[in-house]
């Protein structure tokens, strides 16, 4: 899949909406996958026979195997292709390490497949500790500069702005980027003169 297929004629809000929708879907998908593991943990043997389905008690599965039909990939791929044209996400595949615990969640770290959300690739990793979701993090994140700068702006929309205006107040000191000695003296004199 090509990355950064950013359409420059899209409006700014469409870009952001698509990204957040896709990112939300990936998170929701990862959370749902964990939920599936919990509910399927006791019937793991029965569920694992359908051509490479993913389940907690089986050996770590081949990431290229088909997703468990009927539930996981059906809902997620439907939602994803509605948001943007991407490949359907696979079920979380690689359990880097696992150990059992009494609550039914398998401790370990689960890595999701890489999803192309149209503005880059997203890959989520989920960590289970003591049977609970301890962390969900992005392993891959769209790093197109333009997009991430827009997202940064979205993250901090509340910083105030103002047009700069000349001030006529008295000052003791002046802060500015380094000048040469001559330029400094000249401009310092005139600045302080202007300030009085």
């Amino acid at each position: 899949m090509s990355r950064n297929r950013f359409n420059s004629t899209s409006s700014f809000s469409q870009v952001i909406r698509k990204f957040f929708l896709s990112a939300f879907v990936v998170f929701a998908f990862a959370a749902y996958a964990i939920h599936e593991r919990l509910t399927n943990a006791n019937s793991a043997a029965a569920a694992s026979n359908s051509g490479g389905g993913q389940d907690a008690s089986a050996q770590p599965s081949d990431p290229t195997s088909a997703p468990n039909p009927g539930s996981l990939s059906g809902s997620s791929s439907g939602t994803l292709s509605g948001a943007s044209s991407t490949s359907p996400a696979q079920a979380p595949a690689n359990a880097a390490s696992s150990s059992s615990n009494s609550s039914g969640y398998k401790d370990g770290t689960y890595t999701g497949q890489t999803v192309d959300v149209n503005y880059g690739l997203v890959q989520v990793q989920t960590t289970i500790q003591s049977g609970k979701i301890a962390a969900v993090q992005f392993l891959q994140y769209p790093n197109d500069r333009r997009t991430s700068q827009q997202i940064n702006s979205i993250a901090m929309p509340y910083l105030q702005q103002e047009a700069i205006q000349a001030q006529s107040a008295n000052v003791d000191i002046i802060s500015g980027a380094t000048l040469t000695s001559e330029g400094f003296q000249m401009s310092l004199q005139s600045a302080l003169a202007g300030a009085h």
Partner: protein, 239 residues
């Protein structure tokens, strides 16, 4: 480097005090100036001096720079195209040390200004907080904002003056032309300077970085003559 230095002490002080402060800046310049062929940093850059044989201050600066690089997610980096230029952290460090000379001598009301970065302590001759004007990057003899400060540091990063070298370590193509000036107010001038340099390399996001840094305020001026400032800036910046 070769930046102009201004020291003002409100209490009565002997001239030898100022000599000591200016001598210290001379020492720093002689060691860290990339414009001086005989400086220690120039010899390191030419490969004439091994890291193990560098002076204590040079090693200290390298450690502080590395710490700043990590704290700024890589945006502060004294290495560029195979050369090392530590001026983005040396300046604030030197001003801080110079002010310490005054503080340890028992002086309370003073400031040290080197190249527009300032450590201010106590009160000005009128008994008020020190008033610092932020220069208009579009008109050098005009002030666009006044800060009222005491016992803290102010540093302004900018590329509107020739000779100022700040780069975006994450994108060599980035000309850093969007933001002309970023003024950072911090607990002391060493902190303000290193983070002003780091934040400037982040472009427009630099002010967000300062906003998220507890104990720091910032005032950023972009090429459209628009200023963006942190939520706590009103504490130090008057209208």
């Amino acid at each position: 480097m070769g930046m102009p230095v201004t020291v003002e002490v409100v209490e009565a002080a002997d001239e030898s005090l100022f000599d000591e402060v200016f001598e210290y800046f001379g020492y720093v310049d002689g060691k860290f100036s990339t414009y001086k062929a005989a400086s220690e940093i120039s010899r390191i850059n030419r490969g004439e001096l091994e890291w193990e044989h560098a002076s204590d201050d040079m090693k200290l600066i390298f450690q502080l720079a590395e710490q700043t690089r990590i704290e700024s997610n890589g945006y502060f980096d004294i290495r560029h195209q195979g050369r090392i230029d530590p001026s983005g952290i040396v300046k604030g460090w030197a001003i801080y040390n110079a002010a310490e000379i005054l503080r340890k001598r028992g002086f309370v009301n003073y400031y040290v200004d080197a190249g527009g970065d300032i450590q201010a302590s106590g009160k000005n001759p009128q008994g008020r907080a020190w008033r610092v004007g932020i220069r208009n990057p579009f008109q050098m003899d005009v002030i666009v904002k006044v800060l009222s400060i005491t016992d803290c540091g102010v540093a302004t990063s900018g590329t509107y003056v020739r000779g100022q070298h700040i780069y975006n370590p994450k994108d060599g193509e980035d000309a850093l032309a969007e933001i002309l000036s970023l003024t950072v107010i911090g607990p002391d001038v060493y902190e303000a300077d290193r983070f002003a340099t780091a934040a400037f390399a982040m472009g427009r996001s630099g002010i967000d970085f300062i906003e998220c840094l507890p104990g720091f305020e910032g005032y950023m001026i972009d090429r459209n003559k628009q200023a963006t400032f942190t939520t706590g800036f009103a504490r130090v910046g008057t209208a």
